[in-house]
Symmetry: C2
Subunit: 340 residues, 2 copies
DNA sequence: AGATTTAGGTTAAACGTTTAACTAACTCTA
DNA sequence: TAGAGTTAGTTAAACGTTTAACCTAAATCT
């Protein structure tokens, strides 16, 4: 049987209250007794019982991580990496993270994840999108929430975001710097803040480069930024303007779809058109040619989210830094080249 | 505040003990009072406090999932998928799964994962390899353990395994059926049971096909079944026997490395040599040509492990089915073809 | 010097369950 | 019809913490 606080108290010759106070390093304890107790703790290899502590403090030590289930089906483990980042972020803290998925189209009939119903978490991290229906239900419970790579436009939420605007800018600027003028943009799910911002960055960089924004160079009506939609978006784009020499895809999945379209239609990348994606997904280096892209530090998004939610839990009236912006980086590979 | 068992008891007009017994559906309770209590539970939306329950039963409701940290660095999320499978497996159970990683070279100086030290798990699932040092330390704690895709050769452990022997057989048989005679095998980390068994399957299928096993056709001295080692193994293999017309790589990572070697040396796949891998990793379909391989159901490995450990925890003297074998499947793509 | 404050610790109640031991009301059986 | 069994529920202790309230001795003040 594991040692309890009583064993420690007896060994150190103090009351259990003192042991408890030492653990929380309360100011009332002298360093003398503190070291005495700490010694006993070490010798017994004592670890407080999370259950007992939880029972009185009404905390669980768990953080829930919620993902829509379609990420399981996607080939790219984008959010899975973020999850791994949260796991890493909990080292040095006293938290564990529990994973759950919800339906992509979560609605009022669906059950909330088990750990929420059972109140087994002290806070929740929501990665990617979640339906308003879901967010509403969670908010009623008034559990601290942190979003990653998404946030409901109504309300002021704690969020860890990718610096999408800047990403859009440097991606587009890269193309402009290479001498391209007819630069296309293909995107899906434009209402999603991330996609929207990438598009905004595209427009800003165009303007900064003295290139007039042209609706003909954009295909933004796909409902999802997926591979097949990248394929069809590329098709539409070339139909709209056959003089396109460069494409900025709102993410790598669409870029891969677009690349496939080009291959199928004898459009050489990067000789005929340059292509840049966004995310820096693992498949990129296997592509032919390897894809130039904007790297999103997925792991870091997770660790940042943990730090943030820790603060929110600790200090419910935590106000500074509601939004944390994680920087991105241009990764030049072989799918873009100077316009001759 | 969440309702407690007292609230339910009051509402249903019974004692809290009765409520508790109803929840565990104990035989002593009549259906009449049972429905009465159940109704109160539903109306109050009552969920028992895991902490309180844990305090008295000395259980936590958590299962630990342990992975060596090098899987984070690998590009292929093989074990991550298995982890996702365990998460899925816990639906309908009362367990949560906690993830932790340990150093690949875990030794006596390293600390055990936090959830083990703090006794926050009722059982542990170990995926892939773990050092003897680690396993020894865990065993002392006498926490139920289930291995996935690995098991220490000494001792009789609960394990969920890939049917590697059969996988090795059908992979090799596929090559034999295509008319190949000079079939190479490249592998790394041969002591690992999974790799060892794939190699065993290779030999069995060769024999069954009336082909004599030839050491010259094998490169099995790489220490890791990684991509770069696949590259060098392919190099060695062709140096040993230039008449090779087909290669069975012990996993997709090595197959990818081998494919790279072939590309670099103008060896056409599948025209000059057929290549088959093992695992069915996501990159496979992006390769040129897409890789024929043996599919291992990663997700299912996870769910099976949860079912197994649940039984082990419930019934410490659980004896039947110490080892569960999960079947594999041949996936024919374009990297193998009939020998003309 | 006596009163008051402070420092450093202890006591005991409370958190929400489970479960062994108990009880009251029936039902048999001889 | 008395006694033994059975059935269905209750009582109360226990689990291992935290923390408000309390205590005592020493330090500080007037």
């Amino acid at each position: 049987m594991s040692p309890t606080i009583k064993d420690v108290a007896k060994k150190a010759g103090v009351s259990i209250a003192t042991v408890s106070l030492v653990i929380q390093n309360h100011a009332r304890i002298t360093t003398a007794t503190k070291t005495k107790v700490l010694k006993a703790i070490k010798e017994l290899n004592y670890h407080p019982s999370r259950s007992a502590k939880g029972l009185v403090t009404k905390t669980t030590g768990n953080i829930g991580f919620i993902l829509t289930d379609d990420h399981f089906l996607q080939t790219e483990p984008f959010y899975t990496k973020i999850f791994l980042g949260t796991e890493f972020g909990t080292r040095g803290t006293n938290y564990y993270v529990l994973l759950a998925t919800i339906a992509r189209d979560f609605n009022s009939k669906d059950e909330l994840p088990r750990f929420i119903l059972e109140r087994s978490v002290d806070g929740i991290i929501i990665a990617g999108k979640a339906t308003p229906d879901f967010i509403e239900r969670i908010e009623l419970l008034d559990i601290p929430i942190v979003f990653i790579d998404y946030y409901p436009t109504s309300g002021n939420f704690f969020t860890v975001l990718i610096d999408n605007i800047n990403g859009g800018i440097i991606a587009t600027k890269h193309l402009v710097d290479l001498g391209h003028k007819e630069i296309g943009f293909i995107g899906g799910d434009l209402p999603h803040p991330s996609i929207y911002d990438r598009f905004a960055g595209y427009k800003q960089a165009l303007e900064a480069g003295g290139i007039k924004f042209n609706k003909k160079n954009c295909v933004i009506d796909e409902d999802d930024p997926s591979r097949p939609n990248g394929y069809s978006a590329a098709k539409k784009l070339f139909a709209q303007n056959k003089k396109i020499t460069a494409i900025f895809a709102c993410n790598d999945a669409m870029a891969i779809g677009a690349m496939q379209y080009c291959t199928d239609n004898k459009i050489k990348i990067p000789n005929d058109v340059s292509l840049i994606g966004f995310d820096d997904v693992e498949a990129d280096i296997f592509l032919n040619p390897p894809l130039t892209t904007i790297k999103v530090p997925k792991f870091e998004l997770g660790t940042e989210a943990i730090h943030l939610i820790e603060n929110v839990i600790k200090n419910k009236s935590y106000h500074n830094k509601k939004k944390i912006l994680v920087p991105v980086e241009l990764i030049i590979r072989n799918s873009t080249r100077e316009l001759k």
